[in-house]
Symmetry: C2
Amino acid sequence: MTTLQDCQALDAADPLRPLRAHFTLPEGMVYLDGNSLGAMPSAAAARVADVVTREWGRDLIGSWNSASWFDLPQRLGDRVATLVGAGQGEVVVTDSTSVNLYKVLHAAIAMAQQQDASRRVVLSERANFPTDLYIAQGLCAAQGLELRLVDAQDIPAALADPHAGGVAVLMLTHVNYRTGAMFDMQATTAAAHAAGALTIWDLAHSAGAVPVDLQGAGADFAIGCGYKYLNGGPGAPAFVWVHPRHADAFWQPLSGWWGHAAPFSFTPEYRPAPGIGRYLCGTQPIISLSALECGLDVFRAAEPLGGMAALRRKSLALTDLFITLVEERCAGHGLALVTPRAHTQRGSQVCLSRADGAYAIVQALIARNVVGDFRAGDPPGQADGVVPMPDILRFGFTPLYLGFEDVWNAVEQLRQVLESGEWQEARFHRQNAVT
Amino acid sequence: MTTLQDCQALDAADPLRPLRAHFTLPEGMVYLDGNSLGAMPSAAAARVADVVTREWGRDLIGSWNSASWFDLPQRLGDRVATLVGAGQGEVVVTDSTSVNLYKVLHAAIAMAQQQDASRRVVLSERANFPTDLYIAQGLCAAQGLELRLVDAQDIPAALADPHAGGVAVLMLTHVNYRTGAMFDMQATTAAAHAAGALTIWDLAHSAGAVPVDLQGAGADFAIGCGYKYLNGGPGAPAFVWVHPRHADAFWQPLSGWWGHAAPFSFTPEYRPAPGIGRYLCGTQPIISLSALECGLDVFRAAEPLGGMAALRRKSLALTDLFITLVEERCAGHGLALVTPRAHTQRGSQVCLSRADGAYAIVQALIARNVVGDFRAGDPPGQADGVVPMPDILRFGFTPLYLGFEDVWNAVEQLRQVLESGEWQEARFHRQNAVT
């Protein structure tokens, strides 16, 4: 049986332990919800105050040059690029994940159809994050295309099926938001390309959480989120990557002035910027962008300690430990592991299911200062052959600020919540799930 | 001749003078660029610090509920609504002006074509702000429509021309970014409707600057900017309004989860929220949104002093005074007034032109702590019959924080720059215009 002392020994041997000092978290809290909203880097308060009082308040319009506001989407994009296997100059930070998905899906469809107009299917996973499906529904409806949703394991067959109509674009989220299951990006991209389809990867639960190698996988397009594992602050702007082989090929549809080759020439004709610059649209929220820079700074501090490879090792050690401790210490309480055990198929979160009480158990844990979250299962009435997803207790593990004793404490609280039955108290049963 | 003492007397009698205390501006600066980036409300520093350290850092994910982050787009939208003649629940603050224009232009085209598929023209002003034209170019190209650009005075004829093909949408910026000329929204909307066209008004240089009555004008769609006269901070999110008679009629194309009727049900099928809520898309940058609330708070403080009507009276008095003083004290230096003299045709800025040196004169003024900006004239090679716009010295007047003595000081510095000829020094000639 694993002991508290074992966990403390792991912390003592952890080379990434110093990174915890880069964050401010409430005293005594075990924060397992960094996959919903990342914790605050301690530097953010001073950085944001400086942006507000000096860059905005004192230097005003001059800060577009003197504080390099102009370059912020590209400068932060270059920082994100190092975390996702993209080259310098290939990523911009801008807009929201949903808006960026619209841009790249529009471009990918145009590109696929230019090659073969008979390809009229956008293929995705049924359990993909809803906004991805909503954006695709809108675009497919507008363009008379079919959005086809299948279970993850059926994607290879759906790509290859010669009777099903040609797939133009395969659009997937790399790590599933509910289950924590991770696709093999390289193999899946290869299968898509073999079937003549382009790929879009949503890295919302990947960037900063698991090593990603967009270039190595030969991916076509990617988008991702700034406020989860990148710790950019609430609603931090998102990012978008387009493989250089495609970057100059199409306008994206949101052809605003910031994507113009010379935005401050104020010429009446749109002329897209070369490369990823054309995936910008309007003026970006500078204060929120600046906070994201603090989140990215922590990854820079992680570089000499081993960078994403070391973070991944620790993330797997944390999630392995959590699974082990739940199995050792919470057995007999009806919890089931939803997240894959295989390291190659797991993101940086662990999801448990339970036939009932998942929401209340999460609330009872929060009351004990262990913050995870609840994700509702599928409603009844799924399509034939679709196994509905159960209610989920979701625990995200951010190796930048979590230690092994935190995992012990989280499982110990979970054990107490289950053994005491306190989760059955009415106060934990108000339905109020947030992202 | 107007004297400094006259200006000081105007300040002494100004009922809006107390509002200046709501802003922090650099000592000694006359800031005439609030139409590019509004000044910082003094409350912004503490408000943003609280959002970062308490709402994000301490309360983390719980702030979606406890700090009402969920409602921020609607709550700020309701505040903007009071400034533009819209009803409560009709406006959301979200995304950028360019992105919001894409949403409403897409919806307006769909609506117009549903009524009459032969209408295939989007009509706008040739001198409209470029990003508006770029967005329209992209959409028109994608949908096989014609973007027709005419001079402002030719819009009524272009709407009525029976040989020119039906106009689906008239898309205009209410106050021109370079000239400060203002359309009669009511008359222009009526002319568009009489011709069977829908109207989109870009209020970037109107909201918070001039009284706007969207409902009274019977307008169809509007968008606007948070970082100019609303003083929301660099790149503050923008707003979008749709007349309630249209709000439920169409999906906007950026059908992300925040526009879903129940975003946190995570259902796979998109079901648009009723009303303006469906014009949201992704998660919003909360820190930047919160700063905008401080800008809107100043308008609330202006309410007991007479609100937008009083602000408009002062704005016209400021711009009248500026024109008078330039004519009295800078005569013989080749300056020409570009902004209309008629109050009904003037926004809250004054633009001057000069055959040469406009850029350098603006730079020399900035060196003297009078901050206006430069807007380049049209390049050579305009279409037949188009009179090119000259280079512009642009001065924005924000009655919330500018006084009459500020206007005196600005013109006095302009006079000295011109009389001394110092603007001809090489240091003022680097080309580096920013918005």
